[in-house]
């Protein structure tokens, strides 16, 4: 258990120090800022499109962060050493992903309401948006992790990671955006959508660590 | 009136499937030639 926490916090530390978090959050705001230039400043339009846009931008920000997740450790040999740790490799993977989640994904999600304000979402509606992203983000991280682990050791494998992860993201984006949109309207029940998102995250939690561990083991052999 | 779409559909089908068939057979014959050449080369080396 202590090993788990150690790996987790080590990854968090590395993420913060290398500025990954700042980079990802900056990316989020850059994208949100560019949108009105493309779409026009009309507030009603932005508000209507905001739920979907925020989810897409979140997904892309996550993917850019994930690409580095295993690559750096693969290159400097840390991954080999992690294999030898007296903890099931799937648990090691989970520890790394948890560290990544706490260090990078949570700040990103916490930044989303602010981005939502920029897109003219009413402040009262923001908690639902936040809840939806909290329910769906574990799925995004875990499924993106599958892409990142399969593409590890491929030179410039970032695009490959995105291509692999993209079909997995479709269900999460569909229900995530639906939840966010339901949250914007009054009288629409958001609960079921959050439930589905949570179910997707739970299912990913059960399956992804095994796939990621298998993919990493294969790369290290 | 709709004929052009029908022709286009069957035309695309022919092009895509035909292309795939041609490419696959060419890849197969190329592989066969390469393996044959490799094995013939090795036989020659054994004789020499």
């Amino acid at each position: 258990m202590r090993i788990f926490a150690a790996i987790c916090s080590q990854h968090m530390h590395l993420s913060w120090r290398s500025g990954q978090t700042m980079l990802a959050v900056s990316f989020l705001f850059i994208a949100i800022t560019l949108l009105p230039f493309g779409l026009g400043p009309e507030l009603n339009l932005l508000r209507a499109l905001a739920p979907g846009l925020l989810w897409v931008v979140l997904a892309i920000s996550l993917l850019t962060g994930l690409e580095r997740l295993f690559q750096a450790d693969y290159e400097d040999g840390t991954l080999d050493r992690l294999l030898l740790v007296p903890l099931a490799f799937e648990a090691v993977v989970l520890a790394k992903l948890l560290g990544h989640y706490l260090a990078l994904v949570l700040p990103l999600i916490l930044a989303v309401p602010l981005a939502g304000l920029l897109l003219n979402i009413e402040a009262a509606r923001l908690p639902v948006l936040l809840a939806a992203m909290l329910c769906g983000s574990p799925a995004l991280v875990l499924l993106g992790g599958i892409g990142a682990s399969l593409a590890v050791s491929v030179r410039r494998g970032g695009l490959l990671t995105v291509l692999i992860a993209m079909p997995f993201y479709v269900p999460v984006l569909i229900f995530g955006a639906a939840a966010a949109r339901a949250g914007l309207e009054t009288g629409v029940a958001v609960g079921p959508y959050l439930g589905i998102l949570a179910a997707l995250s739970a299912a990913s939690l059960l399956l992804a660590p095994f796939a990621i561990a298998a993919a990493l083991r294969s790369a290290l052999r | 009136m709709y004929d052009i779409y029908i022709y286009a559909s069957y035309g695309v089908t022919a092009v895509l499937l035909g292309g795939l068939i041609i490419v696959s057979f060419r890849q197969l014959s190329k592989a066969r030639r390469q393996v044959f050449a490799l094995e013939a080369g090795e036989l020659k080396k054994e004789d020499a």
């Binding site: 399956l207 | 009136m1 709709y2 695309v12 890849q27 490799l38």
Partner: protein
Amino acid sequence: MLKALENISAFYANPTRFMALARQVHRPLWALAIGVLAYGLYRVAYVPADYQQGDSVRIMFVHVPAAWMSLFGYSFIFIASVTALIFRHPLGHVAARAAAPVGAVFTLLALITGSLWGQPMWGTWWVWDARLTSVLVLFFIYLGYIALWQAIDEPTRAARAASILAIVGFINVPIVKFSVDWWNTLHQPASVSRLARPALHADFLYPLLIMGAGFLVLFLALTLTRMQMEVLRQRLRARARKGEPPHV
């Protein structure tokens, strides 16, 4: 029965024996493919025009079988990958890699013919209806799978990674289908009707099934051709890695 299948597959696990079998089956299989397709096209030519859609319903006879094959292709890849990864049959990877471009082409075909079928009806080249969107996502799944094979240099590693992706991706397919179906019902624009299937009575059903069978045999024939190619490529790579055999 199961034991017999096991013995057969173990027998043909040896690539040389497989190649011998493949050589024998190859021509008859292609002959069958061409035959069934020719008969199918003949039947399609004499299908009466649909009262609703006119002649353009004929596009259905390539679009629907192509869509069937895109799904069949990925199922084939899934089964081949499971065979390779869990039952450790060496030809599993070969079969999966061989079938991938075939499935991808059928998927692309389904997309293009779907678009061509829809244009005269809806006035646009593309609609985000449930079926076309699902097929589009499936196309990206194929692309990712093929890209993974190409991206990893070492063959055994590539095979392992590809089979992991195939298995996990296959689980994803029904989830995507369900999500996209649901998403489409939510956003159904009033003016666009879904790709209406004409009443499938015998006049339409039998030619459709024959074309489906033709596409299936074509898929198998193409995959067999490509499997032979992959086995030979494997042999070439093995020789290249071993270098020249030592001489006395």
